[in-house]
């Protein structure tokens, strides 16, 4: 099984949840976080700063800032990994930097606390 962890825009969380439910991937864990990525470095700004424009230089400092994001993490069986990823991408893609990242990580085991089921059986989508 795999953990799909996605960091997405705050205002896309409802659309993402809806899209995931429609794709039959209903269980998830979400939380607030802050983040920054590589996308904040604007080439135009960098060029302007190099040429010494005060305004561009003052804007450069903003790249240190952390932006509020939503983090969702979903544990799915191996066969659903690609579907989960493409659903999240389709729901969140605006084409601008800041749309977010998705990471896919291996998970060794899962246990449902209520029944004690282990492995893929413990996952809702199995």
């Amino acid at each position: 099984m795999k953990e799909v962890m996605a960091v997405i825009r705050m205002n896309k969380i409802n659309q993402t949840k809806k899209a995931l439910v429609e794709a039959d991937i209903s269980s998830m864990h979400a939380r607030d976080c802050l983040g920054r990525g590589k996308g904040l470095v604007d080439i135009q700004l960098l060029k302007g700063a190099e040429q010494g424009y005060e305004e561009a230089i003052s804007l450069l400092g903003n790249s240190q800032r952390l932006i509020p994001k939503r983090m969702i993490s979903i544990v799915v069986p191996d066969r659903l990994t690609a579907k989960t990823v493409s659903t999240i991408i389709a729901a969140n893609r605006t084409g601008k930097s800041g749309d977010g990242k998705i990471f896919v990580m291996p998970v060794l085991d899962a246990v449902r606390v209520r029944t004690g089921e282990e492995g893929d059986e413990a996952l809702d989508e199995a």
Binding site: C33, D99, I102, F103, V104
Partner: protein
């Protein structure tokens, strides 16, 4: 690729982020967490505090950068020269795939490719 999860003191976060930025690792996610370590929290008088506020920094980096990133975080997050209890922990775990939502670029250890949603 590796995911680095570092739990550090809230007051050290700015120093760590600044150091990471200046060494060329801009991308970080930060979360508020609370927890305790081997010392079972802090006991002050009769009261034990065992849910201490910390910050969790999460980043995904290429395998080759691991030692550098660990050194940056440890250097910036340590209290004093020797460090102190409560300075935090760093966990490293494997990441198989990373996708950038805006461009649909998929990164794996094997290389970079573009996927369409």
């Amino acid at each position: 690729m590796l995911m680095i999860r570092a739990i550090v003191r809230p007051e050290k976060v700015d120093a760590v982020l600044e150091q990471l930025m200046s060494e060329g690792f801009p991308a970080v996610t930060k979360m508020n967490v609370s927890g305790r370590g081997k010392q079972r929290g802090i006991k002050i008088g009769d009261i034990t505090y065992d849910e201490l506020p910390k910050e969790l920094l999460m980043m995904v980096i290429p395998d080759a950068d691991k030692d550098l990133v660990l050194r940056i975080i440890m250097g910036a997050a340590r209290t004093g020269d020797k460090g102190a209890y409560g300075d935090g922990k760093i966990f490293v775990s494997p990441v198989e795939e990373a996708y950038t939502v805006s461009s649909g670029i998929k990164e794996t250890n094997a290389g970079i490719e573009e996927v369409s949603p």
